[in-house]
Each structure stands twice: as structure tokens, then as C-alpha cells.
């Protein structure tokens, strides 16, 4: 009975979602989003984070649902595009498709580029569909739980999220921790919500509302990325044989069913984790396939499982990482942090209330993901030739365009010249820190969570009359904190650290 009611509700919700997603304007911008995403995924040197950061201001003129649908399209479109170049020319456009390049490129060299691309597309589509249903199923109950959260629980949950982002960053744990704290501090710049006191504004009126989120993101991700690419400019020799016979054989289909299922399952779970998402999912899926395979020696020599599993996993992970963002208002990765930024600028307070107050936005976004995935399958396979040709555009011509878009984008947020100086400053800081092997992702998460963390800490302490034990006496809060401590301890364990280094070594 209960299940029946839930089922009916689910169908009603998805119905609302699809009717929102099917609005011409939403369909149109979903298409623009996945197209742009694929484009960006194909081009190495611009990631989805930087792209979303620079396109964010353009979407402010749209309805909130339309803008989020387009931004989401960019994100999962980039996963598709990244795998295309990984397979065809051994050049992963995104870090999440780095493992796909291992076996995908070998398949291409053996003249099986077509089946490899089709496997990636079909696996991704299947994973995307499953993940869409999972979000629809799990988001509402999670929202219910989240509504019971007090300030103490929110604080502990954010701590867990921040710690997880540290654990999953590559390189030194200590530096990642420092980056989180630095991000938190930068997030506090501006007027104090409770007292109106100006904090760290150095007398700049422009800083009263805090540092511009878009300026920080564009600086730390966009500008720093350009500078890194300028370090060694190399020609991209693109030599691609014509892709013939796209369709995988019967044996291929048989071989890819199980990896696709496993990849989808693994990716869905890892995507929900704070700090998780597409990159971790694809690495984990590849490792699992290699380990359980009866013929592990085939991996690295063109095994179709090595394409099917990570491609399914990264798409599933990219999508389920929306769950914590949509239900709790807490970002699992930098892209989700940007989505939260977009919601706040649109005047929507991210969190459990979004589903009840803006059902058409909530369900429309979820439904649009499935629509977008369908578009990607239909779009990508016929357009492979075009994507490959795009790769021949030299970087020399690319980055002035990126810079121009960034500058216009940042300026249009507040019509404020100060924000552009901030871009330059954060570009410099970002580049220096990357040079010193400090990951920028934890910094951005900290920046978004800083004000929320402080607000909840203050509220929790006021409610408990200044007794800090409130964080450990409330069971849910205590559980979350214990988890956070466990994650941190495990990350510092020598054996785990060695393993972690190994995983991220493959990334390089």
C-alpha cells in the first residue's frame, strides 16, 4: 500500500518534471548546455568547472529552472565529450575520462573505435537513466530527513563534507586541509550576518557583500588553468582514421552488460559521497573490473570492459552528486558548489525546502537530466567527426576567447570593476598554489560552505547555551562527526595513503 502510494507520487512528480523539462525554452537550453558541455569536454584545457563559472552570469537572465537545466547539461555533457577524445586520440578531455583512454585508445588502434565510442555512449546513457530514477527515488525521503536537521546536524554534516573533499583530493592531505580552511576564511569576508560588522574588507565597499563567488571560481579555476597550459604549449597532432562500423558486435554487447551494471552501481554510490563525483567513480570502476576479471591481462590492450565500466560510472556519479546538493544544499564537488552559487544568485535558498517550495524546478531539473542524456546519445555519435575537427583548433586561439568570456561574465554579475581585479588576484593565487601542489577544489568548497558553517555553529552554540557538547550528544550529529573523524584518520593511515597516491598517480 505504502509502496503503491510512493509509486504514484513518484510518477506524479516525474510527470511534473517532464512537463517542465519539455517546455521549449528548457528543451532548447538543455540542448545548448549539452552541446556546450560536449564541446568543452572535447577540448583539453578547459574543464567543466571553469566553463560553468564563466557561463554562470549569462544564465541569470533566465528562469531559475532553465538556468540550472543548462548548467547541469554542461556538466554531464562534458563527461561525454571527454570520453570521445580519450578514445580517439588518447587525450582525455576531462580527468574523469582518463581511465577510458587506457583501453579505449587501444580499441581505436585496433580499428574498433566505433564500438568503443558506442559502448561509452550507450553505457553512459544507461547509467544516466538509472541515476535519474535513483535521484527521483531517494531525493524526497532524504529531504524529509534533512528537514529534521538542526544547526548542530548541519554543522556536523558540513564538516563531514569538507573532510571528505580533503580525503579525495590528490596530493598532500595537510595541504588539502589548509586549502579548505583558507576557503572557509575567504568565504567569511564581508559583512557579518549577525552584527553587520565589516570583516576583512580593508575598507573596500565592494567587499561588503563578500567576495564575488564567480570571480573567485573563474580566477582559481579558469585563469590558473590557462596559465598552466601556457607552461608547455605543444602542437596537437590529430590523426584520426575514419570511424567505420559504429555498432558493437553481439559478443561486445555480451561482454559489456555486466561492467555497465557494476559501473552504474558503483558510480551511483560514489557520486553521493561528499567530495565524490565523476572522477573517483571512473577510477574505482576501472580498478574493480580489472580485479574481478578472469583475464586481467587484457586490460590496457583494448578490453571493452575497461571502457564500459568507467564510462557508466562517471556518468552515474556525475548525476547522483546532485542528490546532496538538491536535498541538503551541500555541494559534493566544485561543480555542485557552482550550482549552489547559481541558486543563491537566483534568490533560491538551497536545501531541503527546494523540493516542496519549487517542485517544478526540482523535478524539472531531474527530468531534464534524462532528456539531456538522450540528446547526448543522439547528438554525439553522428557528430564525432565534428568534435575531432574541433581538436585541431590551436590553444593559442582558444584562450583569448576564454578570457574575454570570463571578463564579460564576471563583470555582468555586479557591473563591478572590482570583481575583475579579484579575478586577477585569485588567478595569481590559484596558479601559485597549484604550482605548490595545492588542490583548488577543497578551497572552493570551503568558500561556499564558510558562511553556512559559521551560521550553524553560532546557532547551535546559542541554542545549547554555549555548551559545545551539543555536537556529540545529539545522535545524528555525533554519527556524522564520528564519520568525519574516521575519514580523516583513515586518510592519514600509511597504507591508505600509499593506495591513494597510486590511484592519483594514474591520473597524471
Amino acid at each position: 500500500m505504502d509502496i503503491l502510494a510512493t509509486g504514484q507520487e513518484l510518477i506524479a512528480n516525474l510527470g511534473l518534471g517532464f512537463s517542465t523539462a519539455a517546455l521549449p525554452i528548457n528543451l532548447g537550453f538543455c540542448f545548448v548546455g549539452v552541446l556546450l558541455g560536449t564541446l568543452i569536454g572535447v577540448l583539453p584545457g578547459i574543464g567543466p568547472t571553469a566553463t560553468i563559472a564563466m557561463l554562470l552570469p549569462i544564465t541569470f537572465n533566465f528562469e531559475p529552472a532553465t538556468s540550472l537545466i543548462m548548467l547541469a547539461g554542461i556538466y554531464y555533457g562534458a563527461q561525454y565529450g571527454g570520453s570521445t577524445t580519450a578514445i580517439l586520440i588518447n587525450l582525455p578531455g576531462e580527468s574523469s575520462s582518463a581511465v577510458t583512454a587506457i583501453d579505449g585508445y587501444q580499441m581505436a588502434k585496433q580499428g574498433r573505435a566505433g564500438p568503443a565510442l558506442a559502448t561509452a555512449a550507450l553505457g553512459s546513457f544507461f547509467a544516466g537513466s538509472v541515476a535519474t530514477v535513483l535521484i527521483a527515488l531517494f531525493a524526497p525521503p532524504l529531504t524529509e530527513v534533512a528537514l529534521k536537521f538542526g544547526p548542530a546536524e548541519y554543522f556536523s554534516l558540513m564538516m563531514l563534507g569538507l573532510v571528505a573533499s580533503v580525503a579525495l583530493a590528490s596530493g598532500s592531505v595537510l595541504k588539502a586541509l589548509a586549502m579548505v580552511v583558507l576557503g572557509l576564511l575567504l568565504g567569511l569576508v564581508g559583512s557579518d550576518v549577525n552584527t553587520g560588522a565589516q570583516r576583512f574588507t580593508m575598507g573596500f565597499l565592494e567587499l561588503a557583500d563578500g567576495l564575488n563567488f564567480v570571480a573567485v571560481a573563474v580566477g582559481v579555476f579558469g585563469i590558473a588553468e590557462i596559465l598552466r597550459n601556457l607552461e608547455n604549449e605543444t602542437d596537437r597532432e590529430v590523426m584520426v582514421k575514419k570511424v567505420t562500423n559504429l555498432w558493437p558486435s553481439k559478443e561486445d554487447f555480451k561482454a559489456m552488460v555486466a561492467p555497465v551494471l557494476r559501473g552504474t552501481a558503483l558510480g551511483s554510490v560514489l557520486g553521493i559521497l561528499p567530495g565524490g563525483g565523476a572522477v573517483l567513480s571512473s577510477f574505482a570502476a576501472y580498478t574493480v573490473e580489472k580485479r574481478i576479471s578472469k583475464t586481467p591481462e587484457r586490460f590496457g590492450k583494448g578490453a571493452i570492459e575497461g571502457v564500459a565500466a568507467p564510462e557508466s560510472a562517471n556518468n552515474a556519479g556525475a548525476q547522483t552528486s546532485f542528490i546532496p546538493m538538491l536535498t541538503l544544499g551541500i555541494p559534493a564537488n566544485p561543480v555542485m558548489a557552482l550550482m549552489i552559487g547559481a541558486m543563491i544568485i537566483q534568490g533560491i535558498q538551497p536545501g531541503p525546502n527546494v523540493a516542496s517550495e519549487k517542485p517544478e524546478l526540482f523535478w524539472g531539473l531531474i527530468a531534464s537530466m534524462w532528456v539531456g542524456n538522450l540528446m547526448l546519445v543522439l547528438l554525439n555519435l553522428p557528430l564525432i567527426g565534428l568534435w575531432v575537427r574541433l581538436l585541431t583548433v590551436p590553444y593559442t586561439m582558444l584562450f583569448p576567447a576564454i578570457l574575454a568570456f570570463c571578463a564579460i561574465g564576471v563583470y555582468s554579475v555586479n557591473s563591478n570593476a572590482f570583481d575583475l581585479f579579484a579575478v586577477a588576484a585569485f588567478g595569481l593565487l590559484g596558479y601559485v598554489l597549484v604550482k605548490l601542489e595545492c588542490e583548488p577544489a577543497p578551497l572552493l568548497l570551503g568558500f561556499v560552505l564558510g558562511p553556512m558553517l559559521e551560521e550553524n555553529l553560532r546557532r547551535a552554540m546559542t541554542i545549547s547555551r554555549g555548551d559545545p557538547s551539543v555536537f556529540v550528544t545529539r545522535p545524528l550529529s555525533a554519527t556524522l562527526l564520528v564519520l568525519a573523524v574516521l575519514v580523516l584518520v583513515v586518510t592519514f593511515l600509511p597504507s591508505v595513503r600509499a593506495k591513494r597516491d597510486e590511484v592519483f598517480q594514474e591520473d597524471a
Binding site: 598532500s172 589548509a178 580552511v181 583558507l182 572557509l184 567569511l188 593559442t396 583569448p400 576567447a401 546559542t462
Partner: protein
Amino acid sequence: MMQVNTRDAAAGGIFIAIAAAFALGTMDLTIGTALRMGPGYFPLLLAGVLGLLGVIILLKSFGRPSVEIGTVPWRGAALILISPIVFGLTIRWLGLAPSVALVVAISAFASRRSTVKLAVALTLALTLFCVIVFQRWLGLPIPVFNGPFAPLNPYFDMAYAPFGAAFSAIGSALAGVVAALRGLFGA
């Protein structure tokens, strides 16, 4: 001589310096108590943690082998970092087209592979593209030309008029097709 991992030492040093700056910034803020936290409480706490992490990172860098920092594209970095600043300084004064042109022209020379010919072509193409997309289509409220360039605006409007008409014709045709499709499928 003792080895120092310069990369870690520098990172530690930077974190310590930033922590100190933030701690200094809390000097004129009320710290408050755990019960009634002032605006300075949480930042001071965080600055303390950041400083501590910085010290640990710095101390751990001693006795570790040094590593290469790698090449730094000095000229490129300078040009790339200057271009958003130039944009910020000129956008209000000169208008969208000259500012975008400046950004593209300056940044184009950041690459060692750039040539004057390429830079000029890029500047022209991208400026036109940005003005049409951002100002005409997306309605960015910045004049195409401003200040000393303001007299150029009517010429741009005149040159754009036929294209604008064509674009809006295509747009309404597309809208018609969508409406027809919706009618067909009864959506």
C-alpha cells in the same frame, strides 16, 4: 647541507602569512564567547588552524628532497593577469567593444606561438562575436561604444540592422516550427 623541499616550505610559508593576515584582521572585531560568538570568533579560530597547518607543512618540508618547480611562463602570466584588470578599468569608460578588443589583443600575445596577424584576426573576430552574442542577444546592459568612442554607436547600429532583422526572422521561424510541433503532438 640539509635538504629542504622548497615547494612545501613555500606552501607552508604562504599559509602562515595568510593566517597571520586574517588574524590581524580580527583585531578590531569583537571576539565574544562560545555562547555569544562575535564576528571575530570563527575567523580567529580558523586563522589559528590555518597557521598551525602552515607550521606543520613548513616543518615537514625540512629534510625532504627538493623538487623542480617547473617552468613559469612569466611573460604569458603577466599578460593574462593584466587583461582582466584592463577590462575592469575600461569597460565603463570605453564600452564593451573596445574593452573586449583590449582583453583579446593583450592576452593573444601571452602565447609564444602568437603572431601579430593572428592577434589582429582574433581581436576582430572575437570582439564582433562577443558584442553580438552578449550585448545584442543576451541583452547585456553595456553600451557597445562609450566615452570617446560613443559617436561610433549609430554606425554599429546601422551595420547590425540587417543582421538583426535576419536573426529575429530565423528566431520567429524556429518558434513557429516549435509551436507547430507542439500542436501536432498535442503537448
